[in-house]
């Protein structure tokens, strides 16, 4: 495995994606604003009427950190998955960029950072939504909530790398469905967003510990409630470790696919 060849030019890849995004940010805003809003109100209030948590917490309060964690994940996955596949395969943007002094590692790194940036933007929108609802339901309980944004960036690097790794293996855009339905959707539903993972039965609970989303939810729960816990250090380390491994893997896999 050869050394990583990343330079400051990775930022130019990020800038290119930003330029494109500036043409469509309005349409791209509706999804991260309205979906979390609907989920918070629909599940939080609707389903919440039938839910009684051991902690005595309101259900809408319980799911808020999960929503802050999980919906930006979808944004980063969509960016590293469908959007990146489109750039790589149909628009041949990667080919155009690697014909310049930009290296493939710069391209992939820029794509990962871009996917993370989109995740941060989504979490920012969700934060606004949650703050707007806070006078009514007390969703945000601490000024530490601003740390959900850097946490979303770290999580975005992880989910972006994960999706790009899937992108590096598929040969059509529809094949991304394997990755999304077999990896992301199970993680979304059992990753601690909608119910406490402690409720899972023995083995499943042990296995679910390894789900990266679960640790992102834990971190965000700490920042949203202001109730910091030493286990958050473990959450952060696990996310960092998984991110490093996925990032290295995606560099290797994209070179395998594109440098022939």
């Amino acid at each position: 495995m050869t050394a990583i060849d990343v330079s400051y030019r990775t930022f130019k890849v990020w800038q290119r994606n930003r330029d494109v995004f500036m043409h469509m940010w309005k349409a791209e805003t509706t999804w991260p604003v309205f979906e979390p809003l609907v989920v918070l109100l629909g599940l939080g209030l609707g389903l919440g009427r039938f839910v009684e948590l051991e902690s005595g917490q309101d259900y809408i309060e319980f799911i808020t950190p999960g929503v802050v964690a999980a919906f930006p994940m979808w944004t980063s996955i969509a960016e590293g998955g469908w959007a990146s596949y489109n750039r790589m395969s149909y628009q041949k943007t990667y080919d155009a960029m690697i014909a310049t002094p930009v290296s493939l590692d710069d391209v992939i790194t820029g794509e990962v950072i871009w996917a993370a940036s989109r995740g941060v933007l989504s979490s920012f929108y969700i934060l606004i939504v949650a703050l707007a609802l806070t006078p009514f339901w007390g969703l945000v309980q601490s000024p530490l909530v601003v740390f959900t944004l850097p946490a979303a960036f770290l999580a975005g690097l992880m989910f972006g790398s994960m999706a790009l790794l899937a992108t590096s293996f598929v040969t059509s855009v529809s094949q991304l469905a394997y990755f999304v339905s077999l990896v992301i959707i199970p993680m979304f539903w059992v990753g601690g967003v909608f119910f406490p993972p402690e409720e899972l039965s023995g083995t499943v609970q042990t296995l679910s510990w390894f789900l990266p989303l679960r640790h992102v939810v834990n971190l965000q729960r700490g920042f949203v409630t202001g109730d910091l816990h030493p286990s958050m250090v473990v959450d952060g380390l696990w996310i960092a470790l998984v991110t490093a491994a996925l990032y290295r893997a995606v560099l290797w896999s994209m070179r395998r696919r594109l440098i022939k």
Partner: protein
């Protein structure tokens, strides 16, 4: 290596597993020339180009681009190359001007200068009126010219064009060629792959013809036509049904000349060493056979087909 040799390939080889795409080829490209790489699909043209552009590692042999080794100095080489790829890979979500600006950024060209250069290359390629247009609103020919404009934004020392006019209409192609000739007059060195022989004939100073991963002929287009074909070619076109008899007759009448047969046409080329003889042929005799006869000047296309065969490569 002399400073004026911009590309030097010695025993250049590319293998994909067991498949040898480029088999120990030698050539050099000197400053100021337009150098053509011709060959049927699968001959190894694009693999050669990709190695020169530092996006595909050299398997074996020696390659120097602008005096540098692609394996070790890819970024420095790519900073001085202008690449026009086979497939359009413009940013369809950006406007024409934004495409050029984003591309200039990859070369560390500051914003103000990038804008200035963008207008320069748009003027050069007659695209100024399209500056704020979205890519999807451009015609095929405009997209190709914009791709050249984009490659020129970094003021490259060497322009590499991989089948640049595939899929565009004849008018657009003529304009495209005119632009490339203009660049050549201004001293731009160009490396061009194509399977349009007319393109090679109007643009290239020297060409190599590749087939089966090797170089099978090299020279100026005129030299190749003269040495491989001669000056004149006669095509004898048959109606269905008379082929057997007619081919027999042509063989007899054109005895000693070189002949290529296809299902419905027989090509008669000059005899080696006796260039005048083809002009003595009795064309009326062919026509009395019920054939349509065309006498014309030999072209690079004749050279290409004669050397690489008339069978379809797919």
């Amino acid at each position: 290596m002399q400073p004026d040799v911009l590309i030097e390939a010695r025993g250049l080889t590319k293998r994909f597993g067991n498949l040898t795409a480029v088999d120990a080829i030698d050539f050099e490209v000197v400053r100021g020339e337009c150098f053509g790489v011709l060959g049927p699909n699968g001959a190894g043209k694009t693999s050669t180009i990709r190695m020169i552009c530092c996006v595909s590692p050299v398997t074996d042999g020696r390659l120097r681009v602008l005096g540098l080794d692609p394996a070790r100095e890819a970024r420095r080489i790519k900073a001085r190359l202008g690449v026009v790829p086979q497939d359009d890979n413009l940013d369809t979500d950006l406007t024409v001007l934004e495409n050029l600006r984003a591309y200039a950024r990859y070369f560390d060209i500051p914003k103000a200068e990038a804008i200035e250069r963008a207008w320069d290359v748009l003027r050069l390629m007659s695209l100024t009126e399209k500056a704020d247009e979205k890519i999807e609103n451009l015609s095929g020919g405009m997209k190709r010219r914009l791709t050249v404009a984009r490659a020129l934004v970094s003021r490259p020392e060497l322009l590499v064009l991989d089948e640049p006019t595939t899929g565009i209409d004849p008018q657009a192609r003529q304009l495209f060629w005119q632009k490339l000739r203009q660049l050549k007059r201004e001293g731009m060195t160009m490396l061009l792959t194509t399977h349009y022989m007319e393109e090679a004939a109007v643009l290239c100073d020297r060409v190599i013809i590749m087939d089966g991963s090797r170089i099978i002929a090299r020279g100026t287009p005129a030299e190749l036509v003269r040495s491989v074909i001669g000056q004149h070619v006669i095509e004898v076109h048959f109606e269905d049904g008379v082929r057997e008899a007619a081919v027999e007759q042509v063989r007899r009448l054109a005895d000693g000349l070189r002949i290529d047969e296809t299902d419905d046409v027989v090509y008669v080329y000059e005899a080696p060493g006796a260039p005048g003889r083809i002009l003595d042929l009795d064309l009326d005799a062919f026509e009395r056979l019920g054939a349509a006869v065309v006498q014309r000047r030999a072209t690079l296309e004749d050279v290409f087909l004669r050397l690489t065969g008339r069978e379809l490569v797919e």
